[in-house]
Assembly symmetry: C2
Homo-oligomer: 295 residues x 2
């Protein structure tokens, strides 16, 4: 395991512990709901978004407690979106992170409600004074998360993805869709680290540029995995887009073209980090990780 | 139309206008999502929860803009919960407020996403500096809403409702379920008016007691309507609980017993308002309205 991977694992463990403490215990007649929330949020995930919150904030010497709670809130949003996306009326997936999806392990109604509850919990976590002393910082973290996750962010991207299933897609549409569907939350991760770390404007812009390029590279890499990944390693069904006749970066660019695009975006992403000099070495490594995952 | 009903109509219109401005316009490739959000949120509703926010805040001379935006956020939560509750995997309802439910007018995936987007929008609205100058007030409004709407509030209540479908229910379970499922948001409406109006502790307690009794009375009255209402007046399917073999306040107490319980709760609710003297006359009227609706 490389140094970088060790750090990624450490952050993932911390976030899982934080989520375990933040999600209400399974008690009362509604205990089934908490069990489903825990099933969705505590399964092993790479926790890439939380990782970016923590590593970005660390560059500015920000409080780890603030970063960890914000990372946990962001992960609640990510996990809720997976639960809803996996529903039969959406992507209809049976497995996620190597275990049954929530509607398979429980039922559809519970999956809808567990997603709703995780989404709501994200904002409760950020609103708490435990997350940051300054209510102005908390409210900014909330406003930006709502933007990233809402109708003009992640949910909007998911809507485009659903609508486009029956119509042909070109590179522009897919790029836009992915920028909303997965890019918005990745951008939020970097932005949140900058907010908590009181980054200067030039630094915030650099982080935004980095997130933009990295987010797209991440998604193209995901499409490459989908096209040629091994189900047992990836932990979920693969070749779904091709089987469903859906266009994606790989079907439009070919595997080699997609790989080239990832390399280009990776180089661009790294350039944005120059402003941070040596402090950015973990973020620099994260780009290579995205490029080559999973090992 | 009584004075009270006129006021209720005025507030409902204001809230609809506010929601029309706050929900993003239907544009871009994700326009379908905004159309579904608008279908769900702009249909004629009684807007009882917004009404309580505005009338409570008005007792304290609070800013109408702050109250109206908070009321709109609360209504987003209420509307999202209706969209998700109407889904085939939940209550499977085809009509709501006299029009097709979102999954009927659009499709199930769009209904899931429109609900998610309305839920997210509620927090975006509250986080904005337009809602209140003081970020500490905004963050408190957000934290309390997340409590009222989350796993130990509305969504928890809905989970109990789903789980209890197959098992017999007694009065205690139903009372607890309703306190979470519908009571929590009604309590929030009164609490939010008090927060924005900087109510003193004794006043906040009185509002909480009032909300508690009124919320339960409201739900029992709903069960009475369900048992003997006219579908064309109520605007949604009636006799659903009886048809589904579900216990509710009417099946457990009988119509007369339920009516008596409503009268008792209404009297209790009014007593809580004594502290506010004449200023509470609109809230006093609202109790009678709940008792006798629809006319």
């Amino acid at each position: 395991m490389t140094n970088f991977e060790q750090r990624l694992t450490e952050v993932a463990d911390k976030v899982t512990v934080a989520l375990d403490q933040l999600i209400p215990p399974a008690s009362g007649p509604e205990a089934n709901l908490m069990r489903a929330m825990r099933h969705a949020a505590l399964a092993n995930g790479k926790r890439m978004r939380p990782f970016f919150v923590l590593e970005t904030g660390a560059m500015f010497g920000a409080s780890e407690k603030s970063l960890l709670r914000t990372a946990a809130a962001l992960e609640c949003i990510h996990c809720y979106s997976l639960v809803h996306d996996d529903l039969p009326c959406m992507d209809d997936d049976d497995f996620r992170r190597g275990q049954p999806t929530v509607h398979k392990a429980f039922d559809e109604a519970t999956a809808v409600l567990a997603g709703d509850a995780l989404l709501t919990l994200a904002f409760k976590i950020l609103a708490s004074s435990e997350t940051h002393d300054d209510p102005a910082v908390r409210v900014l973290l909330i406003e930006r998360l709502a933007d990233a996750a809402g109708a003009r962010g992640m949910v909007g991207g998911q809507m485009i993805d659903m609508l486009e299933e029956e119509s042909p897609r070109d590179l522009n549409t897919i790029t836009r869709m992915q920028r909303l569907k997965t890019g918005a939350l990745i951008s939020y991760a970097l932005e949140a680290g900058g907010i908590i770390g009181h980054a200067r404007e030039a630094e915030r812009n650099a982080l935004a540029g980095f997130a933009n390029d990295l987010g797209l590279a991440y998604q193209i890499a995901d499409d490459i995995l989908d096209a040629e990944g091994d189900e047992s390693i990836v932990g979920k069904a693969v070749s779904k887009d091709k089987d469903a006749g859906k266009a994606n970066f790989v079907t439009l660019l070919g595997v080699d073209g997609a790989r080239q695009r990832v390399r280009l975006l990776a180089a661009q992403a790294k350039e944005h980090l120059a402003i941070f000099r040596d402090k950015a070495h973990i973020l620099l490594h994260s780009v290579d990780y995205v490029l080559n995952r999973p090992r």
